[in-house]
Amino acid sequence: MTASALSRRALLRGGLTLGCSAAAFPLATRVTFAAAPGDNRLVVIVLRGALDGLAAVGPYEDRDYRAMRPTLATHPDRGGLDLDGRFALHPRLSPLAPLWRRGELAVVHAVSTPYRDQRSHFDGQDVLENGAQHADGRMTQGRDGWLNRALSHLPGARAETAIAVGRGSMLLLDGDNPALSWAPDSDLTLSPQTMDLLRAISARDPLFAAATAEATEIDAMVDGMVAPAPDMAPPVGGLDVGSDDAGDMGGPMQGDRPERIDARSLAVLSAEMLRGESRIAAFSLGGYDTHRKQTATIRKPLEQLAEAIVTLKAGLGPEIWGRTAVMCVTEFGRTARENGSGGTDHGTAGAMIYAGGALSAARVRGRWPGLAPSDLYQDRDLMPTDDLRRHAAWTLRALFGLPGSALERDVFPGLALGDDPGTLA
């Protein structure tokens, strides 16, 4: 690895200065002023492992809450941030408090995808990203992502319009419509001379020529995102955030899933792309599968979530942030009661967390079903009172003007849009 690559990686993971010149956006300059799909921005963060909505945003006024969660209730008495006299934000999300005060944070509680009963992460994430109507975890015929299908209905959408940030593929943005994908730590270490040679031998092959050229451009852009800081310490290896449940019962050790990249780097690259030509960015955070000792195991994942949002805001700058909605979704919620090992198990309804200057108000939305045993789903989970896809659909509509027919038929087949939840201004 070259010295510059090392320091750049360190910067992406450590303290870095945001903000850069227009020259850092080759993609943006190349296609300036082509018909872009508006000025609004959407960031979708997939929280893998099933975030405990009842811990992230605790219904502390619900009379059954504390009894069900002797050690895992989020309450103002325990450092939770009182949002509205009914709900409290987990202490580890407190970096988001200033956003709440400015009307840039909202929650939709007691929502879920149509997926029911099997409670498998794999199927649950498939449904979440595919947007299908099926309770049994089946996907739509095309097995593509709803965010990719949404691109079909965005006038002027190009590959640069949407980017999946991180390693490996992301179903949410997979499909027939071209979209970018890039890992913040990916780095073309070949010398410029060697890259010239590669371009020369690829010249006769349009597919390779285009992909190589674009890869080089994005790499240069990512390189240009950070000011050089030669005395930065090299990064510490092993970026895994908490336990990855996917391998919990015997997936191979590494190489099974791409390495996790830290939240800050994902957010930095997303923000930079959104300052350029991109309008939509998506990435994943992990570690939310807190079966044991949740008090400890949920800390880091929540901190990462808060850091991602705060970094996005800083990276986008006030003007673009004002036109941005960040939507955080998870495959399902967790059990209402804590289990015998100080954790929670796979449940049904959970919480969506929204942030951004495009929100209408700081508010906890959703119809609260209550936690009395008879109000629970199957006497164990928070009862879903709304379809998560409905909120995602209204978000697409508010930001990009997608027509209702496209949302109900193509993006989320079988969905009934219903009334506007009003989360976005």
Binding site: S120, H121, F122, D123, D136, R138, M139, R143, R167, G168, S169, L171, D174, L180, S181, W182, A183, S186, D187, L188, T189, L190, S191, Q193, T194, L197, L198, A200, I201, S202, R204, L207, F208, A211, T212, E214, A215, E217, I218, D219, D245, A246, G247, D248, M249, G250, G251, P252, M253, Q254, G255, D256, R257, P258, E259, H291, R292, G340, S341, G343
Partner: protein, 450 residues
């Protein structure tokens, strides 16, 4: 580019040359390789398979203990889990090493083709242990035999039954179905018709899906193995493509599957799929026709169909119509390096970072295909900016290791023979450093097309 017959055989139909071995040889030799592979030893044999399942149960128990217990139980769970992961990872390395070393590259490609055709992706953590042995147990023994035997082996393998929810499908009027008030799950039935046999748009309707789903009830699992469970099987008679079969009868269901395997739509579907895989994303119609007729004449004798493929002039056109998938590229790179089995593993020269982790980064981790339709075939799926960046990064890392053992100019010739273009050969020789010469080759269209 024009290349001789042996180069085409090795690059298009094989996994690339090894410097210490002969190339593919002629069609007759390639067919013999297929038979040798079918008879070859399994990476996960009967005993290993039982041991794996026992280990999964141990991990589950340890997990239960850890949830209830304290520090000691947690440590025990962590170490049990680590052991199982090591074992599963070792199987992946072994399958990679086998492909890198085999003298029967074409046979290996065919085994991979059929494994992909009957894709099983890992669905839940305990599933890993079933998926690990699946290719060797259900696919490879049948690559030189009849398609229907492969089909029936797949439908009786726990990995597939778990993957497509067949083990959760109850005949609504079966004893177990009535007792537990459970019904049909059509997932496997639908994919069998749409993906595995007749093909999308084939001559079947929803009533055929339902009939097949009913006939498949009872195909279930027990202790991690296939088990026919009469208590779950739907009684009655069911018409599939106009032929009536008795329900709740394993043999009848198998004969229904055999009929599907011999169906003209299946012949057509698989003929095209083979041609697409080996020759071009948009293959010559004459080639597809020839393969389909051979399939029908022989009722799906895979050796005969493959012989027809190798005998057809359209299969021997210029190279370059297809892009190597990340797995193919990795195996070809290892072969050209003459990598030995001991070098491919967590502690070898070609460790995780260069192999299993690189495949994940390039978007093709083992047993992680995006859906039951397997990995995408088309060049445009793989050669994207992000995909190219991942290949470049891998190429650079490989270059560092390869530079220790071989001159890049020699490596380029070893990897591509007379398919190496003069331009690429010149560029490799001009790279400023040896490792960059290797990286350049591995990232070139020459290497990544076949």
């Amino acid at each position: 580019m024009t290349s001789d017959q042996e180069t085409i055989a090795t690059l298009r139909f094989g996994l690339g040359p090894r410097p210490d071995a002969r190339g593919e040889g002629g069609p007759a030799e390639m067919l013999r390789g297929l038979e040798a592979l079918a008879r070859g030893p399994a990476l996960v044999d009967e005993a290993a398979d039982r041991a794996l399942w026992a280990e999964v149960r141990d991990v589950r128990e340890a997990r239960g203990d850890a949830r209830a217990g304290g520090k000691a139980e947690e440590t025990a769970f962590a170490s049990e889990r680590k052991d199982l992961r090591r074992r599963l990872e070792a199987i992946q390395f072994a399958s990679l090493a086998r492909a890198a070393a085999t003298p029967h590259g074409f046979a290996e490609r065919m085994a991979r083709f059929w494994t992909d055709h009957f894709t099983v992706s890992v669905k839940f953590p305990g599933h890993w242990s079933r998926v690990a042995g699946y290719p060797d147990q259900a696919i490879r023994p049948h690559v030189a035999g009849r398609f229907e035997d492969m089909l029936t082996a797949v439908v009786r393998h726990p990995a597939m039954l778990m993957y497509l929810d067949q083990d959760r499908s109850f005949g609504p009027n079966s004893r177990a179905g009535k007792r537990r008030d459970r019904g049909l799950n059509e997932n496997l039935a639908r994919e069998l018709l749409e993906l595995h046999t007749l093909g999308a748009g084939g001559p079947y309707g929803q009533e055929d899906v339902q009939a097949l789903a009913a006939l498949l009830t009872g195909f279930a699992t027990g202790k991690g193995r296939f088990r026919y469970r009469p208590a779950m099987a739907e009684p009655g008679r069911f018409a599939l493509l106009g032929v009536r079969y008795d329900g709740a009868d394993e043999a009848e269901t198998l004969s229904a599957l055999r009929a599907l395997a011999r169906h003209p739509a299946t012949a057509r579907h698989l003929a095209r799929k083979l041609a697409v895989h080996f020759v071009a994303d948009d293959p010559p119609p004459a080639l597809v026709d020839a393969l389909a007729s051979r399939w029908l004449e022989t009722q799906g004798d895979l050796s005969a169909v493959v012989a027809a493929l190798l005998a057809h002039p359209a299969a021997w056109g210029p190279l370059g119509g297809k892009v190597r998938t990340p797995q193919e590229a990795l195996i070809a790179a290892l072969r050209a390096a003459g990598a030995g089995p001991a070098e491919i593993g967590p502690d070898g020269a070609f460790g995780r970072k260069l192999t299993l982790a690189a495949l994940a980064d390039m978007g093709q981790a083992f047993h992680r295909a995006p859906g039951p339709d397997g990995w995408p075939e088309d060049a445009a799926h793989w050669i994207t900016p992000g995909g190219m960046a991942a290949r470049l990064e891998w190429a650079a890392r490989m270059g560092r290791v390869l530079a220790e053992r071989v001159d890049p100019r020699a490596y380029a010739v070893a990897a591509l023979g007379d398919a190496l273009s003069p331009e690429a050969a010149l560029a490799v020789s001009r790279a400023a450093e040896r490792w960059e010469g290797h990286a350049l080759l591995l990232a070139s269209p020459d290497f990544n097309r076949r």
